[in-house]
């Protein structure tokens, strides 16, 4: 191989794997009956999904009055959850697209699951604006289609409409990118199976053969899709931040929002990837493919983006004071010391202080610390959105309309239930598709397998020494 890899890089595939071992290890879990852990997790997730369905039914049947939102606080958990989920949905495309452009080989171990996570998170995110509309059966009004009301078009100047386009484009492109990578791996699964299973995977693999010309086009397509997805992923959360930044509410009307939201999205997305991958590598025995090196790399991204987010929080505070604008000053005073002070301190502790532990290599490579940190960050990033939305709305220009808001069981049910939806989709994915991109991992074996590099490397090792001919 002509690819150059720095000698100080650690191996990314351990256990002296051959190409065939990789196929076995990654296809294997989908060919066996699910284990007890999977079944328990699925049962819990289905319970969550049922909660979601029931709470949504309740909302649609009785109206969003069941959420106890009020005249002052018009956005509560719904938009908080929307922004939280859409933020989580940023890591997959970042890993698969931006890291592909940067030629980061560690991406290959986690990109498949991260992209799946992205798609499922965007599905969860999409539920909230739809439910929030109240009359969900009229949701198609958000699309510009020729209609009998004039035609009266949607407002193309509104950031809420930009959101519709950004999120539906992001969802479509993510699915196309993900599925294009899955096709060769489905072919691998097809060629290992018989009977009905073979028929299903034959359908899913589109008749992939592994022809060199197809691979050449595959690589060309992947590169361009990555080039497209890179600005796209940055645009999506930028546009989400415009929902707030283009308003004239003190605390929302800030130009720092787009970069701050994008950094926060990557931060929370990586945290969720880590939460999922730490469990998946254990349950599916993928420790040789998702190594401590992968985890450390992701923790470095978390440290970087967490620090960017922290800097943004402090910049906001400074600018609100420096602006000399009393409403802005009050908005930030209120965030930190107002009725929702606890969410502000939760956010600061989880997002700014706790990730600083990752300055130490020992903790970056600790699975235990990483897992707890990933949960902290998920919580902290939820608080961040709650702080921005509910805290800001609770104290508006008119003291007579100041208000406080507590979610009802319906809103809590929708949020907790949306995690059920997410995990049902993710658990199904681990059963039917390879959780690690098989072909991509094989393509880095010669440069990043531990029998070829690192301290265990064997001189002149050949992959075909390890197994018999067939």
């Amino acid at each position: 191989m002509s690819a150059v890899v720095s000698p100080i890089r650690e191996p990314l595939i351990t256990g002296s794997k051959t190409y065939h071992d990789i196929t076995e290890d990654i296809c294997g879990p989908t060919e066996r009956a699910p284990g007890l852990l999977w079944t328990i997790a699925m049962a819990l997730s289905v319970a969550g999904l049922a909660t979601f369905a029931f709470s949504v039914f309740w909302t649609v049947y009785f109206g969003i009055g069941t959420w106890d939102l009020n005249r002052t606080i018009g956005w509560g958990w719904d938009i908080t959850n929307f922004v939280w989920w859409i933020g989580i949905g940023h890591a997959g495309t970042l890993i698969s697209a931006i890291l592909l452009l940067f030629r980061q080989k560690w991406r290959t171990g986690v990109n498949r699951a991260a992209e799946a996570m992205t798609i499922f998170a965007v599905i969860c995110a999409g539920q909230f604006p739809l439910i929030h509309m109240g009359r969900i059966w009229l949701a198609f009004f958000i699309f510009p289609y020729p209609n009998t009301r004039g035609p009266l078009w949607v407002n193309f100047n509104s950031p809420l409409l930009w959101d519709v386009f950004a999120i539906s484009t992001y969802f479509t492109v993510s699915i196309l990118f993900w599925y294009t990578g899955l096709v060769p791996d489905f072919a691998t699964m097809r060629d290992r199976s018989t009977g009905m299973r073979r028929k299903i995977y034959n359908f899913l693999s589109f008749g992939w053969t592994g022809s060199a010309k197809h691979w050449q086009r595959f690589e060309s397509l992947s590169l361009i899709l990555a080039g497209l997805a890179t600005p796209l992923v940055l645009s999506v959360h930028t546009i989400v931040s415009f929902d707030f930044a283009t308003s004239v509410i003190p605390g929302w009307h800030t130009t720092i929002f787009p970069p701050y939201f994008v950094a926060g999205a990557i931060f929370s997305g990586f945290a969720m990837v880590l939460t999922l991958m730490l469990i998946a590598r254990k349950v599916l025995h993928l420790e040789d493919y998702i190594t401590l090196e992968h985890i450390e790399s992701m923790n470095k991204v978390i440290l970087l983006t967490g620090s960017i987010v922290g800097t943004a929080y402090l910049t906001e505070l400074f600018i609100s004071w420096y602006s000399g604008y009393i409403y802005e000053q009050f908005a930030f005073f209120n965030r930190a010391l107002g009725p929702y002070w606890w969410s502000y301190f939760g956010m600061m502790a989880c997002n700014v202080l706790s990730p600083q532990i990752f300055w130490f290599k020992k903790y970056r490579r600790s699975i235990f610390v990483t897992f707890f940190m990933s949960i902290f960050i998920n919580i902290g990033m939820w608080f961040e959105r709650f702080v921005i939305i509910a805290t800001t709305l609770a104290r508006d220009y008119l003291p007579s309309s100041w208000s406080y808001y507590v979610p009802t069981w319906v809103e809590i049910g929708i949020f907790v239930g949306s995690m059920g939806l997410f995990f049902v989709l993710f658990l199904l994915f681990t059963r039917v598709a390879p959780v690690v991109a098989i072909a991509e991992v094989k393509s880095i074996l010669k440069t990043s397998g531990d029998q070829y590099k690192g301290k265990n490397a064997m001189p002149h090792h050949h992959a075909h020494d390890d197994h018999g001919h067939h």
């Binding site: 051959t18 035609p151 990118f177 022809s211 060199a212 600005p231 094989k442």
Partner: protein, 177 residues
């Protein structure tokens, strides 16, 4: 790729991509005409050895993207200046900066969908398509060189077999596909 008439194929499987690349170099030197090469993953440098032209997908992608740009921008301009002009917040009807986000998104959307559809179309791949494979391990860990032996003389076939065995193919077989 998808031809209706059946094709006789002689193929050899190699265990490693370096063996495959070496074999292709030998074939190029001996002017043997390789019909197709199959690999379980994209092998770096294979397209140069096989003298493939650069893929033109990116040109198609640019065209699709430009169509998206024009569709979005012209449509919004038409709606807000001709079809139903409305003043929003005292801004001009033709408020170009506000059109940029949607224009960008549709550029990406058209480009991605167009390129993916083109990619599957030129590859002849689609849901439900079945292309007979030469060996089940080609999508696992074997690297395959295939010769088309339709109308080839016995001597030609002999040469191909000699080539496959001397370059280290671990399995040599023929198949009608």
């Amino acid at each position: 790729m998808s031809q209706n008439k059946s094709k006789e194929v002689l193929f050899g499987l190699y265990d490693d991509e370096t063996d495959l690349m070496d074999a292709i170099r030998v074939a190029n030197k001996e002017h043997l005409e390789i019909d197709e090469v199959f690999t379980p993953f994209p092998v770096h440098g294979l397209d140069h050895l096989l003298h493939f032209e650069e893929s033109r997908l990116h040109i198609a992608g640019f065209v699709y993207g430009a169509m998206g740009t024009l569709t979005a921008f012209l449509f919004m301009s038409w709606v807000f200046t001709r079809d139903w002009p409305i003043i929003f917040g005292g801004k001009p009807y033709w408020s170009v900066p506000a059109f940029i986000p949607i224009t960008f998104e549709l550029t990406v959307l058209f480009c991605a969908i167009g390129m993916v559809v083109s990619y599957y179309t030129v590859n002849g791949l689609a849901p439900g398509v079945t292309i007979p494979t030469l060996h089940d391990r080609i999508t696992d860990d074997k690297f395959c060189i295939a010769f088309n032996t339709n109308g080839a003389s016995a001597q030609d076939i002999g040469n191909m077999k000699d080539f496959l065995s001397k370059t280290g193919a671990s399995l040599i077989d023929s198949k009608v596909v």
